[in-house]
Amino acid sequence: MPEEREAKEGPTLAATALMILMSLGLAAFSVIIIYYGIRAGSRTETPGMDTWFQVLFGVTGLMLSLKMVYDVLRMKIAPEEEEPTIVSRLQCVDCGHWKEREFREGEYVGLKAEEACPKCGGSMFVAAIYAKKPKKQARRPLF
């Protein structure tokens, strides 16, 4: 069924772990570069190009690693796309009272419903059939 297949989409546990490890490695490397860039620059009165390049590379690497972690987490904990429920809206012929209940196979708009109106006991008909979205979307577990 469609719902089952879609729920399986997203990165696997191994891919997630690998991505996080890679981004942590990049972050560590970037911190080292920044550290040594600043250290080299602090030895002279005017920091050289080397210092600026190293700090720039380091900051870029750090931002890249943060983006990688953010992307992976977003994919993993993004709310699951829940299938809407198909409901039938039944309306009373006499008093106009309406109620919703789950759609039953074979029903169509205009069909006389089996149930009687809970308010006046009159007959009801299917006034509309539509997809109702779930109110709150659940987040996926991270692992």
């Binding site: 080299a40 050289g48 080397d50 390049f53 012929v93 205009g110 008909f125 979205k133």
Partner: protein, 393 residues
Amino acid sequence: MLPSWLLEKGLLDGLTGAQAGDLGDSWLNWIIFMIMIAVLNIYGSKLQVQMWMNQIARALGQLQQLTREASDTFLQEASKFGGDGERVKKILQEAKGFFTISPVTLDPTGAIRRLENILDEAEDSLSRFVERAAPRADSVKRANLRDQLEGVIVLDLIFRIVRHYYLLGRKTQNWIYIAQVQMQLPEIMRIARAYWRSSTAFQRGVPVGDSIGPLVALRLIGGAPVEEVAKNVVAAEVELEDRRVIVVKAKGPGGEVGKPGEAIRRIVESRGGKVAKIVMIDAATKLEGEPTGEVAEGSGAAIGDPGPEKWKIEEVASQYSIPVHSIVIKQDLLEAITPMAQEIAEAVDKVIERVRRTIREGTKPGDVIIVAGIGNTVGVGNTLREAEVVAVA
């Protein structure tokens, strides 16, 4: 901060320029820099194309999966109505790749009639496939199965086209082929998913977003008796705002769109052109940012057919100088062919209000007005007579 052995062995000296503190002496920086420049210059575009090809390959896998699932849904459903599993599979294989050839427009005379002939034959051919696949299905189920089959054919076609450009790009190493598919992938996948989801709606016989026109028409018809006025189109006469309103819709509750243009032409001609106004209600594609279920109106025939039905309406309306007014309900492609969203269903009352106002404007009491609910009528019946509803609108 760092393991001391790294520093002691001087492994980071080149990287950090720790000995000289100058870019010129930092040999490792230079090597990395030069390698990066060389790699990006020589292999940059190839790497990019390779990444695009990987994306297309993944999308192809998904497209194949969507096609297979839609096919399986059709097979399961057809098998319930007398179709033998293997036989249905064979029929489905024959139906896949079904095509229509557009008429010659170099000589435009009669092109619409020729197009209509081709479209009629295409519909009949698909109906025959369904008849063979599900011989015990009634007319309602058959119409739904035909719509399901159309979805499978479209999905299969999308898969074949994407695969064609992917393989062609790989064979010729021409990045233009790859780039154009990659750039359109999000839209291609959105369309594919819409068709894939639609198979469930037609399998269960649930109204889709496009059914809003027939749904409004049904509310206007209420319990009035209906009669078939053209192929798969029914009409009923009701009184609304002291006018005689002829409400037209496709014959439900199977997934039919019918020939509303033909029906409107027949009605107008049968009354010698004495029709004060034609009001059309249909679903319309919304622009991103517009809310689903928004109601808008304008002039002209709102009907999304390939041409013949719209042409008939325009022809007859211009022949008798009948104003054509349209009311549309906004939705995107996904919503138009998947189970009707609540926002769309709840727009019915607003549309009816607009229909009432449109009927009053520019017409006199006693005038004849045609109101046509255009769209696929899957899951929408023809009258509320069975439910003994006299007037809902």
